[in-house]
Amino acid sequence: MEVPILRQGQYLIASIQSALTDADLSHLREALIAQVGRSRCRGVIVDVTALDVMDSFAVRTLRDIAHMARLRGAETVIVGIQPDVAFAMVQLGLTLKGVATVLDLEEGLAFLNRRGEERLLETKPKRRDDRG
């Protein structure tokens, strides 16, 4: 089934609603990466709250999305991994290294906002003076 990709300000939100086949996952990846460039967004949130199983292909696809989106100029964060899923993943050695993960959608938005600010700070170090 198709995963809806919503646009919220500068971010894209892909909310997975049910278990996905490998083909669905590949499709999601392509759609997200294409849309990152088209909408010039700064962040991608993939919400996996509804998933109670995560296999190696799913984890690899998520990691690929994060790395590809970074190449296209957007930060990715995975949100809503269930505790049981998290533990099963590390036991299988699927640790999503190098990919940001946070608790839920709200945290994800906060995380991306913070990253955006950090980027601003890095590019404009004098910003504090502007504000007084």
């Binding site: 995975i78 949100v79 991994i81 269930q82 505790p83 049981d84 998290a86 533990f87 993943m89 590390v90 036991q91 640790t95 999503l96 993960t101 946070v102 608790l103 839920d104 945290e107 906002n113 913070r114 600010e117 950090e118 700070l121 910003r127 504090r128 504000r131």
Partner: protein, 307 residues
């Protein structure tokens, strides 16, 4: 009666039925003897228990009361050959005396003493007739040994039951996940970590991270005496799983011994944030939280100050 017994025994090889009957007869005689001399034998037994300094946790009256009960159950088991009553009694006895610190060797000791006291009295009674003494002992000894066995096993089983119960209680008690302040959890681990407990700890921690929306977790292992590679790897997995839920884990209080072991056996903890003690861990956690949680407008100033 004596002559009849010896005849039946002389035909032992040819007529097993008669032997069985005579064995039953001997047992009856034995039981009757022990019943008759109940008071005297029981006192002798209690005296020997005191002299051997067994059951020191109990008073003399208590010893005597228990001795009476054990004695009667003992004879009954000898007589009927049924051990259920004795088993039940030894279980109840164990329940009563284990909390008072009575040891296994004491319980086995008193039962063996009773066996010896009774055997002595049989020696004294049948010293004239050596053949008969032998036959009496033939029927007495297996039963007596089995009784000793039953009581000892009952005692040990009861102890094991208590130990299991306590283990479970400890397991349930020993995994508190505490919220120190908003978004900061502490998990102090005390005692031995076996694989089952490690798993339980992880599950509880991950649930707590979700329920409390924790950002930072301090796992304090000051109270852990030893850690093998299995447990260490499990700890690494817990840290990874917590990260997937968006929480940073700081491990504190790794003892010198554990630090040496982990490095020697080559567990890779380089991915893990470790701080010397719990205080340092909480300070570090507060720093992380301050870095993350301060709302957008003031954040710039704070992070600039830190830079």
């Amino acid at each position: 009666m004596d002559t009849k017994k010896s005849t039946s025994v002389s035909t032992r090889s040819s007529d097993p039925g008669a032997v069985a009957e005579s064995a039953a007869g001997l047992l009856r005689e034995l039981v009757a003897h022990l019943r008759q001399n109940r008071t005297q034998l029981r006192e002798e037994w209690a005296r020997r228990i005191t002299r051997a300094e067994l059951l020191t946790a109990m008073t003399e009256e208590e010893i005597f009361a228990e001795a009476t009960a054990v004695y009667d159950n003992y004879i009954e088991a000898l007589e009927t050959g049924s051990f259920e009553a004795l088993q039940a009694y030894s279980r109840r006895l164990s329940e009563r005396i284990i909390p008072r610190g009575v040891e296994t060797d004491e319980v086995v000791g008193i039962v063996l003493l009773l066996r010896d006291v009774l055997a002595r009295s049989l020696f004294a009674k049948y010293q004239e007739d050596f053949g008969k003494l032998n036959r009496i002992l033939d029927s007495y000894e297996p039963a007596a040994n089995r009784i000793a066995n039953t009581v000892a096993v009952g005692f040990v089983e009861e102890r094991e039951r208590i130990i299991r119960q306590q283990q479970e209680a400890i397991r349930e008690l020993s995994t508190p996940v505490l919220q120190v302040r908003e978004r900061l959890l502490i998990l102090p681990i005390i005692g031995v970590i076996d694989p089952q407990r490690a798993r339980q700890l992880t599950e509880q921690l991950l649930r707590a991270i979700r329920a409390n929306r924790a950002k930072v977790v301090v796992i304090d292992v000051t109270g852990v005496a030893a850690m093998d590679s299995g447990v260490a790897n499990h700890l690494v997995q817990t840290v990874e799983a917590s990260r997937l839920l968006g929480a940073t884990v700081i491990v504190t209080g790794l003892s010198p011994e554990i630090a040496q072991t982990l490095v020697t056996i080559g567990v890779d903890l380089s991915e893990m944030a470790t701080v010397g003690d719990l205080q340092g861990g909480i300070e570090e956690a507060e720093r992380l939280l301050a870095d993350r949680a301060i709302p957008a407008p003031t954040r710039e100033t704070s992070s600039e100050n830190q830079r």
